[in-house]
Symmetry: C2
Subunit: 255 residues, 2 copies
């Protein structure tokens, strides 16, 4: 009998997070990981362990989320994509599949991520974007929001931008870019860094909205970070505007 | 007692048609009209008759759909919008409200409409656009599709582009523009005319897809129209890519 080779695959998926309680498997709640493993099981006839690049909160979306897994099968990467997509629900899609060195880990080998936060900035809501954007019907001051973003750049202890309930000890993270742009009615916050703390992007957005309405001055954000005190930063914006947008591995090197 | 003045209002709404069986009220099925009237009833305390600009098929969407109604109330048009939006479900939004001359009728005073058909033209599906676009993973030949569109322009008897089951006798319609454009992965068909027959836009799209894959030559479309025979035209594309995109009234005059 021929011995089957064990291969490590890295898959990129996108998902609409509205009906999921985040990526990681949870008791008594539907997760993306569980539904994804159900699809894998239909293709390969057994439960296959998977490693996700990140945890995500309930209701958060992904334009790109990476999963690594070890597979004892000769299936082509190209055939993996349609084989899985036909077994997955319409709100999860496999976009890419590539073979990586054995032992590669979607989370530990990840060198950075970019998040996108989408704000629909007009009076009327959009019936196609319910829980896919934050609907904010008041004027936004992009100039002061972008001034505040400058304080996020570089390496800082982001304890002030981490929700209670996190057991992570090292809260130093490096932010590569952070900015706010407008595309028509949509205001987009993009932030990339080597890693993110629990609710970090959502607290950044909550803080930027308070900067926009004048409750916080852009130059105060630097002191907020220095305080390392969650009470000093702004509120936590809701999950439904948030998208994991890009996941970086050593071969990407975008900074 | 002061006599209340009866006013005629014209509202523009948008809706995600996925959970509705079209606009018009139906027995044993949820319609946009019924849900809209439920919202009106919550605001004004009584059932108010409404007139829609058009029928729409089950699963078809609207970026702009117009409704006229007679109202015995002094409510401002500006206040109508948020008052109704807070009583409507998230998949219907009131975008505009204006007062029009008494007796104005959203359907009979309509001088034209523009439809949009969205085709996601890439291999992977988009998890955020399930039943909001037609997913077509094969190459599309926009050049031949646009050549075929030329036959639609002008005034013709469009019987060949009308599904069985229509009791409309006059099947002559004037098409003002019809074209196909690409925006990234999305291919968009836009068609405007003075009126449309039952399934007319969906049969146009089905025909254009057959033109793209070479099953129909662009120059054959003119003969199809002349035949007045539904059997000669292409298949009917699914409803979920279709959007009523603009509704024209005498003050718009875009052609």
């Amino acid at each position: 009998m021929m011995e089957k080779k064990i291969r490590t695959l890295l898959l990129t998926i996108a998902y609409d997070g509205r009906r999921y309680h985040g990526f990681q498997v949870q008791k008594n709640a539907v997760s993306v990981a569980q539904v994804f493993q159900d699809g894998l099981e239909q293709v390969f006839g057994k439960r296959i362990p998977i490693k996700g690049c990140s945890r995500t909160d309930a209701g958060v979306h992904a334009n790109a989320f990476c999963i690594s897994l070890e597979l004892e099968s000769a299936i082509d990467c190209e055939r993996m994509i349609p084989a899985l997509n036909t077994r997955l629900p319409a709100d999860i899609a496999v976009l890419d599949c590539r073979e990586v060195p054995q032992g590669f880990h979607a989370r530990y080998d990840c060198v950075g991520k970019e998040y996108l936060y989408r704000i629909l900035n007009r009076v009327a809501r959009d019936p196609f974007l319910d829980h896919l954007v934050l609907h904010y019907p008041y004027p936004l001051d992009l100039s002061s929001m972008n001034k505040a973003c400058e304080a996020f750049l570089g390496t800082h202890d982001f304890s002030a931008f981490c929700s209670a309930g996190s057991d992570v000890e090292d809260r130093v993270r490096t932010i590569h870019w952070a900015n706010v742009t407008r595309e028509g009615d949509m205001v987009l916050f993009r932030v990339a860094g080597d890693g993110f703390l629990y609710n970090m992007v959502r607290i950044m957005v909550g803080t930027l909205l308070e900067v926009s309405r004048g409750a916080i001055q852009p130059q105060e954000v630097e002191k907020m970070i220095q305080s390392r005190d969650r009470e000093q930063a702004g509120t936590t914006a809701p999950p439904w505007g948030l998208y994991l947008n890009r996941v970086f591995y050593p071969w990407d090197k975008p900074w």
